[in-house]
């Protein structure tokens, strides 16, 4: 759990393109970008089609996760490097997911597709053929996942960090501004949550800020890192990004991602909600 073990640079990836121990996985909500071009050798996981149960709202089962990785030629000892568009939101979600199922060596490409493209590095359209493996996952590690009852119990007691944009936090918008605005949920935020948008942890090119800047960001917003922390957003991917910052880059132990996030909380009957900045 540190920048050295969890994050790799574009240069590192470029130097390891033919390393058989490394598998690159592009993860996004829209895999058509992968089809237009991706980093050489990368496979792709679709955030919904591959990583959501589909029938119930949950992660896929351990057996399905094992089948997905086996089919794609990932072994238990593979170094998995995740990246994607959307400033790595879905890639950090997948990182959190790989940790839940106990994968030992998973890393994130700093800056994802955006930094790679802004550097004018090459993409290919050929899809690498990978030999199937027999992947064995661990039982889910729920120490990094928060459920709604825990979130409600944390109000006013431990840190709740809302990583959405200020406009979503205040109740002005119901969804990120690149999506049509939804009307199903109540607008607002979980009472006592601090609004520390995920974007404050990233540079304009999608790479992470320095550890010092990241620490200042949370401490400056009044987050006591010695206390348990729950991060949430709308569907749990942007909060996976902030979970990554806290848990992996800053090595803070008690941090959970609430993947139910606002689409769950904002639909619950009778729970407290706050609006305004």
């Amino acid at each position: 759990m540190s920048r050295e073990t969890s994050l790799v640079s574009a240069d590192w990836v470029a130097q390891n393109l033919s390393n058989p121990a490394v598998v690159l996985v592009e993860v996004d909500e829209d895999t058509s970008l992968y089809e237009q071009g991706h980093i050489e050798g990368a496979i792709t996981f679709h955030w919904r089609d591959d990583l959501q149960d589909g029938l119930i709202r949950d992660l896929i089962s351990k057996e399905k996760f094992e089948a997905l990785l086996s089919k794609n030629g990932i072994s238990n000892d593979t170094t998995v490097v995740l990246y994607g568009g959307n400033n790595n939101w879905f890639a950090t979600y997948a990182f959190w997911y790989f940790k839940i199922y106990g994968h030992s060596d998973v890393r994130l490409l700093d800056g994802g597709r955006k930094r790679w493209e802004l550097d004018a590095r090459p993409f290919v359209t050929t899809v690498a053929a990978r030999k199937a493996t027999r992947y064995v996952a661990k039982e889910r590690d729920n120490s990094i996942r928060a459920y709604r009852d825990e979130v409600i119990a944390a109000i006013g007691k431990s840190n709740i960090v809302d990583v959405r944009s200020p406009a979503e936090f205040s109740g002005e918008l119901a969804a990120p501004a690149h999506l049509p605005q939804e009307s199903g949920q109540i607008k607002g935020h979980i009472p006592t949550a601090k609004n520390i948008p995920w974007s404050k942890a990233a540079n304009e090119d999608g790479t992470f800020k320095s550890d010092e800047e990241l620490k200042d960001l949370y401490l400056g917003a009044g987050v006591d890192l010695a206390v348990d922390t729950i991060a949430y957003c709308r569907i749990g991917e942007r909060s996976a990004f902030s979970w990554f910052v806290l848990h992996e880059l800053l090595n803070v132990a008690n941090v959970k991602n609430y993947d139910g996030s606002w689409t769950e909380y904002g639909s619950l009957v009778g729970v407290p909600v706050a609006i305004g900045a």
Partner: protein, 107 residues
């Protein structure tokens, strides 16, 4: 792309309910001829960032193959930042419900 004669700007608005959505959209063009008429080659996979009136990041989208982008915002003042390999452009816009902001950004 010579936009003279065609409708310049962002994606087709049919199917978008402009009575409920506040749209900011446009097209990114590069290497055009400076003759007073917007022209140039559409830039696909440019990154367009939407910042609120306090300069706070709100959303980001890559442009489509036709160089177009769209945001669903709220009425008010916003800034756009366009990032492509080797260039960066900023624009300030005021969005209202019902009348989409449609931009041509030349880089």
């Amino acid at each position: 792309m010579r936009t003279c004669g065609a409708t310049p700007g962002g994606p087709d608005l049919s199917g978008i309910d402009l009575t409920t959505q506040t749209v900011i959209q446009g097209v990114i063009l590069r290497d055009g001829v400076d003759d007073g008429v917007p022209n140039g080659t559409p830039v696909g996979n440019a990154y367009v960032r939407l910042l609120d009136s306090a300069g706070e990041f709100t959303a980001e989208v890559p442009t489509n193959v036709d160089g177009q982008f769209r945001f669903f915002a709220a009425p008010g003042n916003w800034s756009l930042v366009v990032l492509v390999s080797g260039a960066r452009e900023e624009r300030k816009v005021t969005a209202t419900k019902g009348a989409p902001v449609d931009l041509i950004i030349e880089i």
